[in-house]
């Protein structure tokens, strides 16, 4: 065979590299569908349940022939799926419990069979078999590579050609069926792909950790994108990176564990760094929001302190501002406000600029509207309003503010303090200048 000849020309480390990369890629892609379909554990079950099939196939044929062992794995994997389906359908066992039961039972049988095989009088040819527990990429033969290449080719073309159908069925099966798609067949195709990928992955990653190869790349990719097309590509790349990286970095360690730990490392890294969903991004946006709220509090406090003197812009003693409410970092806030040209500082006083007064008036208006809205419409006790308003108004979209204003105005409830806020602080420039000492 041409393929075998090509693979024969590679040295072992090239074979290992190629094989693990292929496996990582397809398990990332197919695992994404499984995870989105809520079937993360099905891959885990398939992998564990394959062990007794592998052992039985070895006992029957007496060789470590790849195709025989894969057939055994496939048979017991399918038997496990059938058992779970039967348990869920005909007894009142919940699906996760059924999966747990079947997974551990099949695996238990597998471990027993393995210990039988390892007894010297059975043949002693155990070298191949216990690599199925933890995975051993270094056993990679040309035959394995042919199988992996064929599987990868079939699966990637399936996903490429039937992307639309897979996406539709995974997102909304009922809708797909109402459009006339054979949802059961499409679903079974995905399940079959998952089964095949799991089984070809067993000799490399091992039955115990194969599930992680299906789940981790998908979960990692999900952190980076909101589109399925991109997610599939990223999950494939992430799986490749983990598989190749793990085998290269973790020489001398059990390969499955090294691969999975690399995948987990990528996941944790993404958890920290990913845009929007990442920890850093979330902390940053929370920090930005807090900063904005603090700056808005400052302007509103200044407006309220200045309110008795309107339309003049009064030099306010810093001490009065300090006493007005609890501040965590007032000097920094004032620095920021000064940089924005909202306030001017002189000795121990602070004064709103005309730009600052305009902004402060807007913020105060928004705050009071929200307060009024809560009091009038949400039935909240007046003494609770202020704190709630502080939390929420900063999140109000502009459209809702307009709506609130109109609503309150229609009902004649727009407070006088607000209508008396001057439209344009620029008109005040003259008198306020003269009022300063």
């Amino acid at each position: 065979m041409m393929g075998t000849l090509f693979f024969d020309s590679l040295n072992l480390s090239q074979k290992v590299m190629l094989g693990t990369a292929l496996l990582g890629g397809i398990s990332g892609v197919i695992g994404s569908f499984a995870v989105l379909r809520g079937r993360s554990l099905v891959g885990d079950m398939l992998a564990h349940a394959a062990l007794p099939g592998i052992c039985l196939a070895f006992l029957l044929w007496g060789t470590r022939d790849l195709w025989a062992l894969s057939l055994g794995a496939l048979t017991s994997g399918l038997l496990a799926i059938a058992t779970v389906t039967w348990l869920v359908r005909w007894t009142r066992t919940k699906e996760d419990a059924a999966i747990g039961i079947v997974l551990s039972t099949f695996f238990g049988v597998g471990v027993v069979l393995l210990s039988v095989i390892q007894k010297p009088h059975i043949g002693g040819n155990k070298a191949g078999l216990d690599s199925y527990l933890f995975g051993e990429p270094a056993n990679m033969l040309s035959d394995d590579l042919v199988l992996l290449t064929v599987v990868a080719g079939v699966i990637l073309s399936l996903v490429f050609f039937f992307f639309k159908e897979f996406q539709l069925v995974c997102f909304d099966t009922d809708f797909a069926q109402s459009q006339g798609w054979p949802t059961l067949k499409i679903d079974l195709t995905l399940m079959a792909a998952l089964t095949v990928v799991t089984i070809v992955g067993l000799p490399i990653v091992g039955v115990i950790l194969m599930a992680a190869m299906l789940i981790l790349p998908a979960a990692t990719a999900r952190l980076w994108t909101n589109r399925l097309q991109v997610l599939l590509v990223l999950a494939g790349l992430c799986g490749m990176l983990a598989a190749v990286g793990g085998t290269q970095l973790g020489r001398g360690l059990p390969a499955g564990a090294a691969i999975v730990l690399t995948a987990a490392g990528l996941f944790v890294l993404s958890l920290v760094l990913a845009p929007q969903r990442g920890v850093v991004a979330r902390l940053r946006s929370e920090w930005q929001l807090r900063g904005r709220i603090a700056r808005e509090h400052l302007l509103r406090s200044l407006y309220e302190l200045n309110e008795p003197y309107l339309p003049a812009r009064q030099q306010l003693p810093l001490q009065s501002l300090q006493d007005y409410r609890h501040w965590s970092a007032l000097p920094k806030l004032l620095d920021a406000a000064e940089a924005d040209a909202f306030v001017e500082r002189q000795d121990k006083t602070v004064r709103l600029t005309s730009l600052g007064l305009k902004r402060a008036a807007e913020l105060t208006t928004a705050h009071r509207l929200w307060e009024m809205y809560l009091m009038q419409h949400a039935g909240i006790a007046p003494d609770h309003v202020d704190r709630d308003a502080d939390d929420v108004e900063h999140l109000l979209p502009a459209a809702l503010l307009v709506e609130l204003e109109q609503q309150l105005e229609q009902e004649g409830r727009l407070p006088n303090t607000i209508t008396s806020v001057p439209d344009s602080p620029h008109q005040l420039e003259g008198p306020s200048e003269s009022s300063t000492p």
């Binding site: 989105l36 809520g38 005909w90 007894t91 050609f161 039937f162 639309k164 159908e165 996406q167 539709l168 995974c170 997102f171 909304d172 009922d174 809708f175 797909a176 069926q177 109402s178 459009q179 006339g180 798609w181 999900r222 994108t225 909101n226 589109r227 399925l228 991109v230 997610l231």
Partner: protein
């Protein structure tokens, strides 16, 4: 005689959008809908009303072939459903999907065009044009590239409606489109329903708010495991029929269903 009878039947076919004949639906052999017989004329807005557990969603799902019929048949514009799938649009309940799924608003609405696209073909320029139009019709064009998790409940409902519009069907089934939406969305949906009616679409809507039935619908289906009444709102949505629909759930049918379940061997 027979020939003229057939002819007459053909004439009525064109104006009957949905005919359900003698339909019984059972979950795990427990009947939830009994002997439903109804005809819906084309071009009407139809409310499906009844208490919780009355089988409103089941009626829709059975008509769409999503749950098997124990007996009876469903005809859409005079033909069985599997020949008429392109003519039928569906808006499932909002909670029926995972809104964290990695798709954008545009991706979801595109799914409405998949039925007419068929196998292997990918959505192209004309499908995207349909999506643009439908998004505009429900007023969420600006949200086209958002991930669907980032929408409010009302906006999510509009996404589903836009997807159904993209199906360009004649007969629509909407499962509780008004549930948990804001006032603006409710008004938008109502306006959309009227637009659909003026385009001579037939729309069946599972509805919970009895107070708005008269404002929203032409026809009403009153349902409580069996069909209580079906007809124009003025004559059908009466105090008496409502009492029959809502007054006491434990009817003879409940007892019969319970008895049948009891008779099954215990597992």
């Amino acid at each position: 005689m027979a020939a003229s009878g057939r002819y007459l039947r053909k004439c009525t076919m064109s104006t009957t959008a949905l005919e359900i004949h003698d339909m019984t639906v059972a979950y795990q052999r427990r009947p939830v809908l009994w002997d439903i017989d109804l005809q819906i004329p084309a071009g009407k807005l139809v409310g499906i009303v009844g208490p919780n557990g009355a089988g409103k969603t089941t009626l829709i799902k059975a008509a769409l072939g999503l749950v098997p019929l124990a007996s009876g048949k469903v005809e859409i514009h005079g033909k069985p459903y599997h020949q008429q799938r392109q003519a039928v649009g569906y808006v499932p309940q909002r909670e029926s999907v995972d809104w964290d799924f990695p798709v954008t608003v545009r991706d979801v609405v595109l799914m409405g065009t998949y039925g007419s696209l068929g196998w292997l073909r990918r959505p192209g320029r004309s499908e995207h044009a349909i999506v643009d139009r439908c998004l505009q019709q429900v007023g969420i064009s600006a949200l086209a590239n958002r991930q669907i998790r980032q929408l409010s409940g009302g906006q999510q409902q509009r996404v589903f409606l836009a997807r159904a519009l993209a199906q360009d069907a004649q007969l629509y089934f909407l499962d509780e489109p008004f549930a948990g939406v804001d006032a603006a969305t409710e008004a938008a949906i109502f306006k959309l329903l009227q637009t659909m009616r003026s385009a001579h679409k037939t729309v069946l809507v599972v509805h919970h708010d009895l107070q708005t039935v008269r404002d929203y619908f032409d026809h009403v289906i009153l349902l409580n495991m069996r069909l209580v009444a079906c007809g124009p709102v003025e004559t059908t949505f009466t105090q008496e029929n409502l009492h029959l629909t809502y007054g006491g759930r434990l009817t003879i049918l409940d007892e019969a269903a319970e008895a049948m379940r009891q008779r099954e061997p215990q597992r």
